[in-house]
Each structure stands twice: as structure tokens, then as C-alpha cells.
């Protein structure tokens, strides 16, 4: 009885969505438009011993719409995680990425899944950008088996090996030498890919970071 009600309500909401989409597509066909748009970025780059990249970026409406969808999804995911944390359904640590989603989405748009990403403990959105599902995120945050680390890692230990996402690290700065290692392996195997090792201003105090830079 309840299940049939759920099924009918979901079809009703699908019905609700359909006319809206079609209305938009009739009035303004933006979601599938692939005509190139040139965007000039607002803040100029500063560079150190290299040329600044060009400020004009080629994109199209469809791509921008996927960016927006991803950004909005990540934002809502983080806000939901915040509420769950305050309700004590997520315990321990929960470092949120809301406000920085554009970094993950923008980076992902420029690279492939063959390139490696490694980051610190603020990893929820980076994981999603690398192809993680919301189910895996929330299951992991709540310590369930369906989580990306089978509930054993928690907020700070999200990994996705098949799309070269190497985590998810709790100790400040410890991920940078690991990132150096990922790059070393890529050079060793002549992979033609790159590694992105992300860190924050706290990790900028760590000696191991500068050691890793030196080795790189």
C-alpha cells in the first residue's frame, strides 16, 4: 500500500518535472545548447617564473549547466552533512567543502580520470567530482557498509581507486609526500598524466611538504 503510494507519487513528481523542462526548452533552449561562448575570467592571474594562462575560456551553455548542477549538488550535499553532524548521526570529524565547490568542479573539467588527485581531509566534494555517488558519501559518513571505505574510514578517508582519487587524509600535510609518490610512479611508468596534490595553509607549515616540493 505504502509502496504503491510512493511509486505513484514519484511518477507524479516526474510528471511535474516534465512540463517544467519542456516549458524551459520551448522558451529558452539553454540546457542542450553547444554553441561556444567565450568567457573572460574576472580576476587576473599572478604568476611566478611562468606565463599566465589566457583569461578567455571557451565553454558552452550545456557545459555551464552541468557545472551548475554539480556545484548545486555538492552544496546541498555539504549542507545536508552539516545537519546530520549536528544531529549526531555523523560523529567524529566532518570537514565541509561548501564554498569551495568550484575548485573541484573546475579542476575536474580540465583534467581526465587518468590524472591523479590527492587531497587532505576536506574531501567530500572532490570525491563526488571524481565520480563518487551520494549514497557512497552518506553511507561512509554514517559508518555504513555501503560507504566508499565500507564505513571504516569516515569523513576524512574517502578514496576512489578506479578514478585515481587517492584520498582523504587526516594528518595535516601527510598527503603531499604521497602525491609526490603518485607523480613519481607516473614518471616511472611513463604515464603521460599528472598528479594534483592539494593542501591548505595549515599544511604549509609542515616540513614534509617542503621536502616533497624539493624532491619533485
Amino acid at each position: 500500500m505504502a509502496l504503491s503510494r510512493l511509486a505513484s507519487s514519484s511518477s507524479r513528481s516526474a510528471d511535474l518535472l516534465k512540463p517544467l523542462c519542456s516549458a524551459i526548452s520551448l522558451r529558452r533552449p539553454i540546457s542542450t545548447d553547444t554553441t561556444p561562448i567565450t568567457v573572460e575570467t574576472s580576476v587576473p592571474f599572478t604568476s611566478h617564473q611562468c606565463d599566465t594562462p589566457s583569461r578567455s575560456v571557451q565553454t558552452n551553455a550545456k557545459e555551464l549547466f552541468t557545472f551548475f548542477r554539480d556545484l548545486a549538488l555538492m552544496r546541498r550535499m555539504e549542507i545536508a552533512a552539516d545537519s546530520l553532524y549536528k544531529a549526531k548521526l555523523i560523529r567524529g570529524f566532518c570537514h565541509l567543502y561548501d564554498g569551495q565547490e568550484a575548485v573541484a568542479v573546475g579542476m575536474e573539467a580540465a583534467i581526465t580520470k587518468k590524472d591523479c588527485i590527492i587531497t587532505a581531509y576536506r574531501d567530500h566534494c572532490t570525491f563526488v567530482a571524481r565520480g563518487g555517488t551520494l549514497l557512497e558519501v552518506f553511507s561512509e559518513l554514517m559508518g555504513r557498509q555501503a560507504g566508499c571505505s565500507r564505513g571504516k574510514g569516515g569523513s576524512m578517508h574517502f578514496y576512489k581507486k578506479d578514478s585515481n582519487f587517492y584520498g582523504g587524509h587526516g594528518i595535516v600535510g601527510a598527503q603531499v609526500p604521497l602525491g609526490c609518490g603518485l607523480a613519481f610512479a607516473q614518471k616511472y611508468s611513463k604515464d603521460e598524466a599528472v598528479t594534483f596534490a592539494l593542501y591548505g595553509d595549515g599544511a604549509a607549515n609542515q616540513g614534509q611538504l617542503f621536502e616533497a616540493l624539493n624532491i619533485s
Binding site: 567524529g92 570529524f93 559508518g143 571504516k152 569516515g154 587526516g170 594528518i171 595535516v172 595549515g202 607549515n205
Partner: protein, 307 residues
């Protein structure tokens, strides 16, 4: 800090924030930014800095925000803190106190639930103590600061909220003495830090079942108080060790060796040791609970030991 101007504190967020667990609350306001120093996130460096300062005669108290972070300072603690007194032929003493919260908390994840006492115990030249009550925390801290030796004081993440009426005046607890928590006749239960509370909870059940356990909080992890422990073994002839360290290479393992070496003739049964599982602490609450010793297991162990 009032008594001795050479005592200073350094660590992450110890100053303006008052400490991540509020241990140094109000101190920066009272003693200033230099005596209560906020350090960057660079454990290897600021621990080394503390040791260097101690070599000249200052008495720093270095805080690791979590004991696990001190792994980054292991080289400094082992080679400099532990060994300099020896390698300099006694010229330098290192009157430093290295302290911080460790142990398994509530779903903090593997990296933030470590028990560093197992790793540090082999370092020659350092002394290790673990506090478990507000009373012995104050006493051991004062004793550690006044000691000329480098002391590592292990606090526990889950014990900061304990409340107890303690004397306002100056007192110290002997750094090398164990604490008799509950005298008894049937079995000696040796424990420390948070497991003391699990043991006392199990003791209530045991008393109802007719057993009379003697509970000793060993407090001194290095060196062991073999005098108190020995007297207890001679009385009860049965030993159960309950610890939060992992099975392999923990404090329990060393304690078993020490007791067997010295008091083997007084034992009626092999020593039993309950430790945490040899796994990284899982995040999931149900799994985390299983990796740590629970009161029910302690009761079963005593029953088994006293058969």
C-alpha cells in the same frame, strides 16, 4: 607556572584558543604570548624547539593536539629528548614534559585514535606516565614539570569531562608509583587511563558475583611500579591486565614480561591480558566498540582466571 618562571607551554592552539581541549584555558591571558606559545602545525619543529629550550634550562610543556600527531616528532623525542642526557655524558638534562590526549575516542577515525604509549615505551631515557582522574592529573602534571627527566604524560580524549573535588593547594603524585584503586583478594587487575573505568564497571558486576578483585591503576608506564604490582601478585596469585593498547607490542606485553620475569613463582595461573584488536580503529561506532576492551569481557576473563 607561577612558581617557576622557567616553565612555559608550547603547542597548537594552546594560547589564544585556550587549548583544543581547554587544558591551557586562560593561561595566555595571564602569562603572555611567549610563555604560552601558539605554534604552527609543525610538530617535528616545535617539539625539537622545546627540547632545545630544555637543554638550556627552560622547562617547556609541549602539547601534541592529539598524541598521534607526535609521530611526526618521533625523531626529536627519541634521539634528542631521550638520548641527549646520555650522549652528552650527563652535561644536558631535558626537563621537558610532552603531553597530549591519546586513545580511542568516539569515532574519531584510525589516525586520531592511536595509543602512542606502545611506540614510545622503547625509547631509552624517557619516563612515561598516564593520568586517569582529575586528582592524579594535577599531581602527575606537577611532578612531571618538576622532574629533571623528560616525561611523556598521556591524557585521554574521553576523560577530559571528568569532574572531581580536588585539593586547591600544591600536591604532587609520585611519577613512579601505581595507585591502589580497590584492594582485594582474588585477582590483581592492572590497568591505566580510560580502561580503569571499564575495569571499575566490571568490578561492580564481579563483586555482585562474589569475586573480590584488586584493581591497580599502574599510572607509571615506564618504569613499572613493580613494588606495588609485586606485592599484589604475592597476595592474589592471579593477574589480569586490561589495556587500550593493541595486542602486539603494547604496555600489556611489556608488563607480562616484567611480571613473569620477577614474580613467576607467585603465579597460580598464566597472566591474562585484554588489549585492543590489532587493527586500525574503524570509524563505524559498532566496529570501534568491538576493537576496544569492554566491561563484559573483563568479567568473563576474571571468571576464567579464577576457575
Amino acid at each position: 607556572m607561577e612558581r617557576d618562571l622557567r616553565v612555559c607551554v608550547m603547542g597548537e592552539d594552546v594560547g589564544h584558543y585556550g587549548g583544543s581541549y581547554k587544558v591551557t584555558k586562560g593561561l595566555a591571558k595571564k602569562f603572555g604570548d611567549l610563555r604560552v606559545l601558539d605554534t604552527p602545525i609543525a610538530e617535528n619543529s616545535f617539539t625539537g624547539m622545546g627540547i632545545g629550550a630544555a637543554m638550556t634550562g627552560l622547562r617547556p610543556v609541549v602539547e601534541g593536539m592529539n598524541m598521534g600527531f607526535l609521530l611526526l616528532a618521533f625523531n626529536q623525542i627519541s634521539n634528542n629528548c631521550g638520548m641527549l642526557h646520555y650522549t652528552s655524558g650527563g652535561q644536558f638534562t631535558i626537563p621537558i614534559v610532552i603531553r597530549g590526549p591519546g586513545g580511542v575516542g568516539r569515532q574519531l577515525g584510525a589516525e586520531h585514535s592511536q595509543r602512542l604509549e606502545s611506540y614510545f615505551q622503547s625509547i631509552p631515557g624517557i619516563q612515561m606516565v598516564a593520568c586517569s582522574t582529575p586528582y592524579n592529573a594535577k599531581g602527575l602534571m606537577k611532578a612531571a614539570i618538576r622532574s629533571e627527566n623528560p616525561v611523556i604524560l598521556f591524557e585521554h580524549v574521553l576523560l577530559y569531562n571528568l569532574k572531581e573535588r580536588i585539593p586547591d593547594e600544591d600536591y604532587i603524585c609520585n611519577l613512579e608509583e601505581a595507585e591502589m584503586v580497590r584492594p582485594g583478594e582474588h585477582v590483581t587487575i592492572l590497568t591505566y587511563s580510560r580502561m580503569r573505568y571499564h575495569v571499575m564497571q566490571a568490578a561492580k558486576t564481579l563483586v555482585n558475583k562474589g569475586y573480590d578483585p584488586e584493581v591497580i591503576d599502574i599510572r607509571s608506564l615506564k618504569p613499572f611500579d613493580l613494588y606495588t604490582i609485586g606485592n599484589s601478585v604475592k597476595k592474589t596469585h592471579r593477574v589480569l591486565i586490561v589495556e587500550e593498547c593493541m595486542r602486539t607490542g603494547g604496555i600489556g606485553a611489556s608488563l607480562i614480561a616484567a611480571i613473569t620475569e620477577n614474580f613467576n613463582d607467585y603465579l597460580d595461573a598464566p597472566i591474562m591480558c585484554l588489549s585492543s584488536q590489532d587493527v586500525p580503529t574503524p570509524y563505524a561506532g559498532t566496529l570501534e566498540e568491538v576493537t576496544v576492551v569492554q566491561p563484559a569481557q573483563i568479567v568473563t576473563a576474571v571468571e576464567q582466571l579464577c576457575q
